[in-house]
Symmetry: C2
Subunit: 212 residues, 2 copies
DNA sequence: TAGATTGTTAATCGATTAACAATC
DNA sequence: TAGATTGTTAATCGATTAACAATC
């Protein structure tokens, strides 16, 4: 269930194309070539053509891609127009920042509630979303058929939260905790893992040597 | 200057090994095998051995890896023990969340100041760090030899901020803005791009079909 | 038509995995 | 020694890139 046919690297580039096309569309352009997209996104034109051919054949040889058509198809393919509802578990600073971020709406994502175990946080409102006790997770997820769970708890609690999400019926998890979490087959997990990225950056700072 | 010899996928896994070894060390274990690490991290043992052999030869055939030694070497290799100083540009919710996150200290990262263009934010304190006017960026970065810049501004401002960071002498940039930014050769850029990950998650929600 | 650009095939590249001799 | 596990070589896999016939 994990191999959908579309290669992961390709899938991860589609949002870039979508974003670029939205800008180009905004600017009133009707047609773009893979060459031009490549220059703007710093990717080889051949890769872009290959990626786009995973969806369908859109382009017209000798002309390029029709912006509106390609944009609409990417939006459809990625499911961006569909309404998606998510809960955030962990109402700390990061959880609050995500719950308050207005940009998610453009992707069809609505965060409907936060959960926490801290009695001081339960009952609060964050950007007009309620903060509930973690025990209420299964009930709310089940009643509202929530599809996505966002984990913003400390590392030590991450696995237990993921397990609770899966048990509640969530099938897509976005994990921000600095911990490796395991999920059963059939559950899609994407981890941000800032700590790992930070370690990578640390390596590159070391390689640069100290400026001075 | 971008190809250091170590493959990017390998580099991105090293922090996982480091984290696992820190846990194992905490638990008092003296030796681990690649097999055991692989089970814990859900990676093939052969891949772990290959990755680790990029650093040096640590393991003892028939025995395994000495936890303390490997941990120390990873820490050294990734430069985690070195002090690193960063500035955050964009003192919104995400910028504040990052500036307040206590976990970065374990990676040697200290955020020394935030910057913003909003007069209402300039002069505030976030987790005991000052918020300065963006114009002051070059001065502070130059005087303190800041190595890392963290971008948490809206997409439209990201490129200008990156340019200002580079001009100020920053060589490693961690970008959280949902925009592709370009940097000159010699500058290391790592982008979180939550929006792209969200688009990927959206695709998988669509594929699951609505639960109901 | 001539010029441009696609979609796709084939060649290249690099990473993952399996297997095993070397070593403790 | 016998059993275990490494480091590395070779085989496999999959993605990127280059080239080009097909098409507008």
């Amino acid at each position: 269930m994990d191999k959908p046919g579309i290669p992961r690297p390709t899938l991860s580039r589609l949002p870039l194309y979508h974003r670029f096309l939205a800008q180009v569309s905004e600017a009133g352009r009707a047609v773009v070539s893979s060459e031009e997209m490549g220059r703007a996104l710093n990717l080889p034109a051949a890769q872009i053509r290959k990626d786009l051919s995973c969806l369908a054949e859109f382009g017209r040889p000798g002309v390029g891609y029709e912006v509106a058509e390609l944009l609409a198809n990417l939006e459809e393919f990625l499911g961006l127009a569909n309404d998606k509802e998510a809960v955030v578990v962990g109402a700390g600073r990061l959880g609050q920042a995500l719950a308050s971020y207005p940009g998610f709406a453009a992707y069809g994502l609505r965060i409907v509630a936060l959960f926490d175990v801290d009695p001081a946080k339960i009952g609060l409102e964050v950007a007009e979303r309620p903060v509930f006790a973690l025990e209420k997770l299964a009930d709310l997820v089940g009643r509202l058929h929530i599809q996505m769970g966002i984990i913003t708890v400390p590392a030590a609690a991450a696995q237990a939260v993921a397990d609770a999400m899966v048990a509640a019926g969530i099938t897509v998890i976005w994990n921000f905790a600095p911990a490796r979490v395991g999920v059963p087959a059939g559950i899609w997990l994407e981890s941000e893992d800032l700590a790992s990225h930070l370690a990578t950056l640390s390596y590159h700072i070391k390689r640069r040597g100290r400026k001075a």
